[in-house]
Symmetry: C2
Subunit: 224 residues, 2 copies
């Protein structure tokens, strides 16, 4: 094996930089509100400013950074209000995706979701938080994709991207990871019974719980 070091480097510098920028933002290395100094960042990633700027344009489209002409990019402030808003929008879109998905559900599709779930549980047991988050994402996207509404899925994916920062926060807690596994099992069960509304309810409950968890985690001393 020559280059199987976890992540193989993307075929273009802009895609590489895009991943790195996402990581930098989600891990808090670049903090919300920070202006983005292109020269410094480009040097750090060892690329020129051109691919960096193209990656930033992509992130601008996703709402992770803001842009003003001649003043450059800033990391978008992700307030709790933003998080709540994203969850509200996800609620609307994912509910529709699930309803459509259940109508088109096949055995092969279910098997794919079960494989993703197996990977989630494996990663959880092994304590691989990052892998678990990734498999979790695959689990959900697999379901959404059954809807056969590619634009809808694309939007949902973008919304997930835009709150990656908070997601890693959530998955950092062991009880939350356990909870996710339970919810996935319940979801699979309800899917087998073609009960779309119940699945929608589970997903909604999950989002609500995640928001609450993050709220308390972020504002721990508001009462004391």
């Amino acid at each position: 094996m020559t280059s199987v070091e976890g992540h193989r480097r993307p075929p273009t510098a802009q895609q590489f930089v895009l991943e790195e920028l996402r990581r930098a933002i989600t891990t808090g290395r670049l903090r919300p509100g920070d202006p983005i100094r292109q020269e410094a960042l480009a040097e750090e990633f060892d690329v020129s400013r051109v691919p960096l700027r193209e990656a930033l344009k992509t992130l601008e489209g996703e709402g992770l950074v803001t842009y003003k002409a001649h003043r450059g990019y800033c990391v978008q402030r992700l307030s709790l209000d933003d998080l709540r808003e994203v969850c509200l929008i996800r609620e609307l879109l994912e509910a529709e995706a699930v309803r459509r998905a259940v109508e088109r559900l096949t055995d092969a599709g279910l098997a794919a979701a079960e494989r993703a779930q197996a990977e989630v549980e494996r990663a959880a047991a092994a304590g691989e938080v990052l892998e678990m988050a990734e498999a979790n994402r695959r689990f959900h996207m697999t379901i959404f994709e059954w809807s056969e509404l590619p634009r809808l899925v694309r939007l949902i994916r973008t919304l997930w991207d835009s709150t990656d920062a908070y997601r890693s926060l959530y998955y950092g807690e062991e009880p939350n990871r356990q909870r996710v596994i339970e919810e996935h099992r319940a979801t699979l069960d309800l899917l087998r019974r073609r009960d779309a509304e119940a699945v929608v309810a589970v997903l909604a409950a999950h989002r609500a719980h995640a928001v609450t968890a993050i709220e308390t985690q972020l504002a721990p001393g508001t009462v004391g």
Copy 2:
């Protein structure tokens, strides 16, 4: 007056190119499926390929063009299925935006919408189709913005952008223009009475009509 020729040129080349590209796509000058030859386009717009590529990245984020590494950009095929899907998503998002908007509706807000509507009617009477489409957009966005959900409004705006091509088709027909004016008046009336669900219904009916109109316009000889 020095540069009041309708549109003043944007402060950056990428924004200028972005507008031009949008226009080229909506007017059919660049047709769906067409690969985008950067060199040729850049020369046509009299800029280098750098700002062109940044504009394309923005359009990629909006779903108007697709991108593959080392193979470049293509104008997204906007099938009728795509149009229907965008309308479905708009239905979900705009309904929520309207419900929130009605809860927060102020007199000043209503006045702004009425001004936009006045401009719509003026442009319609003057036969200025492009101006009418623009005022129409302002009318709706004004309402959506009362929701105070900036990300939601942003998404809706992007969805509107992605179907601009079809919109100009719709507004090209006089009866459609007349219909829009009626619907706006009804909408304003219902807003004054704070009847969110009725507004949602009007908007849904409008979208349904637009889709049907475009379907018949695009496939005129399917029966004969």
